[in-house]
Symmetry: C2
Subunit: 193 residues, 2 copies
Amino acid sequence: MATVSALGYALLCALHRGPLTGYDLVQRMAKPIGYYWTARQSQIYPELARLSAAGLIEHEAEDGPGPRQRKTHRLTAAGRETLAAWLVEPPAPRAPRAPRDEAVLKTYALAAADPDRMREFYLAEAEAYQRRLDDFRAQHTEMRSRHADDPGHPQFGAYATLELALVSTPARIQWCRWMAERMAELGRPHRDQ
Amino acid sequence: MATVSALGYALLCALHRGPLTGYDLVQRMAKPIGYYWTARQSQIYPELARLSAAGLIEHEAEDGPGPRQRKTHRLTAAGRETLAAWLVEPPAPRAPRAPRDEAVLKTYALAAADPDRMREFYLAEAEAYQRRLDDFRAQHTEMRSRHADDPGHPQFGAYATLELALVSTPARIQWCRWMAERMAELGRPHRDQ
DNA sequence: TTGCTCATGTAAGAAGTTACATGATTCA
DNA sequence: TGAATCATGTAACTTCTTACATGAGCAA
C-alpha cells in the first residue's frame, strides 16, 4: 500500500465529515479551524491527485466557473480505514515533531536585545494572542449552542480543538505579560529604590 | 545585505552567549533547550557556511579528532547587530507561522476512529507530556539555584523559555485527560444509568 | 573488537513557499 | 471598470529530512 504523507492525512481528516472541493480545502488549510495545520493551494491540489491515485479518495466532476472542472472529493472505504488506523497510532516519538516558535526562540536570545523594545514585543504578542482568544471564544460559544460539546456530536472533534485553544492561550498571554514586566524591570532597574 | 533565513537566526540566537562548534549546535538543535526549534546536522553545517559568507559569524580552526578541522564559531559585530534588530521585530503576522500539531489534527477527525483506542491515545499523550514536564521542572529548579530567574542574569532567556513550558504543559496534560474521559463516556455510554 | 563520542561534511529526495496562469460571475 | 469570489492547476525555488562518508580516541 502507498505511504501517506502528513499532509495527506491532514486532507483525509478534513474530508472525514463529508465531501469537499479542492477550493474548500484550501480555505480550511489556510487559516484553519483551530490553527493546528496549514497548507497552500499548490501543495493541496497535487496531494489530492496522489490520494486519488492511491484510491483513498474519489471525486465527481461537474462544469466549474473557470476553464476547468469542479471536483468534489470524498473518502473511499479504503480512505476511511487508512484514516481510522492512523488516528489511533501514538504520535511518532521517534521523529521530528519540530515545534517552531519564533517568539520562544527570540526569548532564548533576549539578552542580546534592548529591554524596552523587547517589552513592546511581548505586549504586542499578548495583544495578538488576546485577539485570537476572543475569536476562539466566539466560535466556542457558537458550537456550544449547537450542542457540539456532546462527545457524540459529529462536530465534537472540532469543538475539542477549540477547548484546547481556550485553556492554552490564556497561559501564553499570562506569560507574555510576565515577560513584559521583567523587561520593564530591566529597562528601569532603580524604580523601587 | 544578505537576507537571513529562520534557521540562520536560530543559529545566531544559539551563538549569542558565546562561541560554539558546529557539533555543539547540532546537540542544541536536536533536542533543544526548551523544545522551541529544531534542525538537523545536514542543515546546520551549510547554514554556518552561509552566515560566515555573509559576515555574521567567524571562526577559529584547530586540528580536530577526525579528518577535518574543528571550527569554533562566534558572532561578529555585524552578526550581533543583525540579531538584535531581528529580536525586537514583531513576529511576522503576514506569514506562515504554521503550527503543526499532529494530536490536534487527529482530534479534529476523532469521529472517524474507535473511542476506546482514542482514549488510549490521549492517555499516552498525557503521560508523554507529564514526563516532559518533569524534565522541565528539574531544569527549572536547577536554573533557579543558579539565580537565572533574575532578569539581569545572562541565562534569563533560557530560564524564561522553561517558565513558558511550565505554565503551558499542565494545561495540555489537563486537556489530554479531559479528552480521555470524553472517550470513556463514548465507549461505555450507559454507565451511569 | 565492537560501539560510543567527538567532529565535519555531501547527496538525493521530500515537503513547503512564492509566484504565475486561466476565466466566469457577482458586487460596488 | 475594477475588484472579489469561485475554481483548478503548474513552475521555480527554498527548506528540511534521510542517508552516506570519514576517522581519531576511549571504554567495556
